[in-house]
């Protein structure tokens, strides 16, 4: 039935079969290792003499033999360097090669359980018939559903301890089914087994005449291999844009791993959240035949016909298909593994696809007790808890809801430097900038593109197109500083322009110049569009404006999305809620100019000597 497991990776036949990763989870001491050990033993999947050796060891130490010891013995042997992986067992049937991942049942190892389970396509969840459904039986079940593992078989173990009672089995089936229903999982099967005695693990032996379903071994082969999501809309998180000039290579390649769908040459691609778009000129690869398309699972690259400026973190989609969502507020179900609780006021990073943005917990909708799915109202999420939360992000990200596309609907949260939690997005929520963001994407989609790229302009002008924002109270020395800075940069060869927000009032803003307070947002929007134009020409723009707030700055950044930016507050004490890179006291414009230029050099906006 099965070949010797240790030879498996080395046998010819193995490679032609399907691979499948199976994770075994469940409450501590419910017999995960025993079931796996028994399965290896009963299918002759153990190295020669291993079973006898372990039995002999037990006899000598006068302790009862347990199948779980087999796994421990294998691990010992593995540690000596002959075989595979301490946490993984290789095992194969005629149909497939399996990697059985033995996930720790102890709650302290939940992050290892998550790491192991996330790699699996299907799971065996072991429940002790005698002890019944315990805290980690449900917690692990819930985590499997969040991790996106849809095929779960429930192994009711230790049936020998309850005299193979159908009533006990049915009771567990009823109780656990009800739980699974709440989390939208349908068990592939419930299997009554005794790992100790071997019933229904690999062999059926009549101890449960009332059960006619699969044995554990049969269940493994009954799991379906999940194909790659090739038929879904195309999604590729942009990992990076490569432009390697060595050996006069002039390709500009958009690189990433295709999360779903397919992309072909001449397809029209839109990148989100920017909304920039172009069509595919070529598919790039190294040491392969020429490719005309790429699809889910591939680590790929392509070039575009237009020279558009996009960055890591965007999500590529094909225009004719369903587009992803863009938002900076998210509703999500999360699990928290961090040592410190997840709370308001703390700064986190959220990584979704290739985007990485600042993130704050806005509110906890409810915390779920994973053992009975009862909810409670709290304002923080403790370690090992699962919860429904609302997050607000520093910048908009592109995604799909997890129910639509799991690959692009999940994220991790970073606390300090560590991955501390994971979540699946259930909804994108509106925020005060949604309307503007929408407008910007539409503008970018319809923008008539130049044949000269931003990179080409940047290298011609030897500068990064950037916004230098100088704000502060009236008469705090903004304009003299702006003029001095403009002159200094100009004399040094930079393409630079000084513009005061006041200069727009009698021109661009003439129709709204009265009733300034009510039209403030529209004034900012228009200046944002002007900034966008100026930066698109490759310019460094110095903008002065009175009393800008954090909201104003956000709005400007949303509209113009400056490749480089430096903000300055003049006049000492900051009187709005804005946070600037530099705060100047006094009116020593010469010194302040020097400091700004140092800042520009540091940010890679200008180069050379001043």
């Amino acid at each position: 039935m099965a070949e010797a497991w240790r030879n498996c990776v080395k046998m010819d036949t193995c490679k032609q079969k399907d691979d499948m990763n199976i994770v075994v989870v469940g409450h501590v001491d419910h017999g995960k290792s025993t079931v796996v050990g028994r399965m290896l033993a009963d299918t002759d999947s153990l190295p020669e003499g291993k079973l006898e050796q372990v039995r002999e060891n037990c006899r000598r130490n006068s302790k009862p033999f347990e199948y779980a010891f087999l796994l421990d013995a294998l691990k010992d042997e593995q540690a000596q360097g002959i075989t595979i992986d301490a946490a993984r067992c290789f095992f194969s049937t005629e149909k497939r090669n399996y990697i059985i991942i033995d996930a720790p049942g102890h709650i302290e190892f939940l992050k290892n359980m998550v790491t192991g389970a996330a790699r699996a396509e299907a799971a065996l969840l072991v429940i002790d018939a005698n002890e019944g459904v315990m805290e980690n039986s449900t917690r692990h079940g819930y985590l499997l559903s969040m991790l996106g593992i849809k095929q779960v078989s429930i192994v009711v173990n230790k049936m020998d301890l309850v005299d193979y009672s159908q009533d006990v089995f049915e009771q567990i089936v009823a109780e656990y089914s009800e739980f699974l229903k709440k989390i939208n999982i349908e068990a592939s099967s419930f299997i009554p087994v005794s790992g100790m005695m071997g019933d229904n693990v690999a062999v059926r032996d009549g101890s449960t005449p009332w059960y006619s379903g699969n044995t554990v071994l049969e269940q493994l082969d009954a799991f379906k291999s999940e194909g790659l999501p090739k038929d879904m809309p195309f999604r590729m998180p942009v990992q990076d844009i490569y432009k390697f000039t060595k050996n006069s290579d002039d390709r500009r390649i958009i690189a990433g791993a295709v999360a779903s769908g397919k992309l072909s040459v001449s397809d029209y691609v839109v990148f989100y959240p920017s909304g920039k778009s172009s069509s595919v000129k070529s598919i790039q690869s190294f040491n392969t035949d020429i490719k005309n398309s790429i699809s889910a699972g591939e680590s790929a690259g392509f070039t575009l016909t237009d020279q558009i400026y996009i960055t890591r973190g965007e999500l590529a989609a094909v225009e004719s298909e369903t587009q992803p969502l863009v938002a900076r507020r998210l509703k999500a179900n999360i699990f928290w593994l961090g040592k410190r609780a997840l709370k308001n006021k703390r700064n986190y990073l959220l990584k979704c696809g290739s985007s990485k943005v600042k993130c704050k917990l806005e509110s906890v909708v409810r915390v779920l007790n994973a053992s009975n799915l009862s909810t409670s109202e709290k304002n923080a999420v403790e370690r090992h808890e699962v919860a429904e939360c609302i997050f607000s992000l520093g910048k908009p990200i592109a995604f799909d809801t997890a129910s639509v596309n799991p690959e692009t609907g999940r994220f991790v949260l970073i606390d300090e430097y560590e991955i501390a939690g994971g979540g699946i997005i259930t909804e994108g929520l509106p925020d005060e900038f949604s309307g503007t963001q929408e407008q910007v994407m539409t503008r970018n989609i319809h923008w008539n593109k130049s044949s000269i790229s931003r990179d080409q302009r940047a290298s011609r002008y030897k500068q990064k197109p950037s916004l230098i924002l100088i704000t502060g109270q009236r008469n705090s020395g903004k304009k003299p500083l702006a003029r001095e800075l403009e002159k200094k940069l100009f004399d040094n060869g930079e393409m630079v322009y000084f513009m005061s927000m006041g200069s727009l009032v009698y021109g661009i803003d003439a129709d709204i110049k009265n009733n300034t307070d009510n039209n403030r947002e529209e004034h900012i929007r228009r200046v944002g569009e002007v900034i966008n134009l100026m930066l698109d020409t490759g310019m460094i723009l110095i903008l002065t404006a009175i009393d800008l707030t954090a909201y104003d700055m956000e709005l400007i950044e949303t509209i113009a999305n400056p490749p480089g930016m430096l903000s300055v507050w003049t006049g000492g004490r900051v009187t709005t809620d804005i946070t600037c890179d530099m705060v100047f006291r006094g009116k020593n414009t010469e010194r302040q100019t020097r400091e700004i230029i140092a800042g520009l050099l540091e940010k890679g906006i200008v180069f050379g000597s001043f």
Binding site: A79, Q80, G81, N112, A255, A257, K351, F411, Y417
Partner: protein
Amino acid sequence: MNHLDKLEARSVHIIREAYSEFGNLCMLWSIGKDSTVLLWLARKAFFGHVPFPLVHIDTSYKIPEMIEYRDKLALEYNLDMVYGQNIKILEKGKTFPNGKCSRIECCQMLKSEALRNTLSGDWVRYRMNHEKGEYEADKNIEPYTGVIVGVRADEEGSRSKERYFSPRDKNNDWDVGDQPPEFWNQYKTDFAPGTHVRIHPLLDWTEVDIWEYIGRENIPTVSLYYDRGEGMRYRSLGCEPCTNPIQSKAKNVDEIIKELKSGKLKNIAERSGREQDKEDGGGLEELRKDGYM
């Protein structure tokens, strides 16, 4: 996608993540088959280019052919080639077997210590000047914050416990018991100042996968891996005094794959020719905790 395609795609994704997220990244190249596959995967990831330095820890006891092969490929692929070594110990001759030190101590000094100080930039790094075709002292002494390494989970116990992105503290120490979780293709790319991250794109590959990929891609490898008529070949490459060939008549990649799959070597560990693994029980795990690859 077949098995090798899947492995390749994941490794390329990992290498690209490392390149995007680490400012001062390097790749360790031991000249062996695994890290040469790693080098090839970098060329896959970056469409023929390798946009970071390749660092070789030269114990000076490497089999001469390995160094020739290193420099030949470095020139041919236009690689940013860097090497470091423990000059002090080599000058004093305090090495195994003549310098009255054990194999493990020798490894610690020539490999672990040299690696630590080369990565941190505390010791001189020698960098290939492609115009002159020779090595000169590198002006860059910044510590590398991301280090791509070609270890595989199936090589031996301690390596099977690794993550794809594995943090090392200021002393290069690895905390096996408390590793960050890793799921959904998201990795630990954030790190505290003074620490660095080891990146392991080959974790899921087996020895057979490596050889099948070398065959499929036609990757150049050192001829020491093949029997050249003496009925011997190296299965794993290291320093001359501590590495022994195995009995084998495999003359090319196909014959090596056949030999591995036949089960002839099934009870012989891949690194069985590497003497330092055999010292003091957990020799390699101890070395690894101390920063050995």
